[in-house]
Subunit: 127 residues, 2 copies
């Protein structure tokens, strides 16, 4: 469960800054069965994967990262958002430090598609 | 329908700046049956209302506004987000110019709860 009530304003950058660890997902709210997480990532490439049951929203709070697809890639910078439809193969490629918001249906993220970092454990970055 | 595919990055501030009119909802994406709209608002107070079937997410892209509830209010500024649970009575109070992102289930917003501005028509601001 999240540390906050849904019924409370949060500042995305403050939340992301207060995580204190790379690759740690911090739940900041819930919206109709969706989970909102912020995280910091750097110097890391996930494996290609797709989500069978949920679209996935990425929003860049600060920094930038690349999102690679089967047939191309997009560079997302501060203030950019993208929605990856369910079933679409993708992988985030984070070089420099990026702080992101992610929104997807509860149960979508797991150890298999988040490099083992989901669930609040610390992940030792292996470039 | 929105003007863009879901499968495309968008910059929230650019989208909001390009609307060109106050109180015009611009759809910028869809996420699992939810609609994402950006809009600009200024000098306007909505009536108190609630949404029976959907939580509602407000995110401030630029500027600030107040969100009033039965028992209090919150001032949201740039980078702040709040999720109003379904069934909770609320009203946005916009004094100075604010640019926002809203997310809620498709069909939640209508002419009754958006001051007649929903659907892309121009709304003449009446303070």
């Amino acid at each position: 469960m999240g540390e906050i009530s849904n019924f409370e304003k949060v500042n995305l950058l403050e939340k992301a800054n207060n995580i204190g660890k790379l690759f740690k997902y911090l739940e900041i709210g819930r919206l109709n069965g969706h989970v909102l997480n912020v995280l910091q990532a750097e110097n890391r490439t996930l494996d290609f994967h797709f989500h069978e049951h949920s679209d996935e929203l990425f929003y860049v709070i600060e920094g930038s990262f690349d999102l690679e697809f089967a047939d191309g890639s997009a560079t997302l910078s501060q203030g950019d958002m993208i929605i990856v439809p369910k079933g679409i193969c993708h992988r985030p490629v984070c070089k420099s430090l990026v702080k992101c918001l992610l929104i997807e249906l509860d149960g979508t993220l797991n150890k298999e598609n988040t490099g083992g970092a989901y669930g609040g454990e610390f992940y030792d970055a292996k470039p």
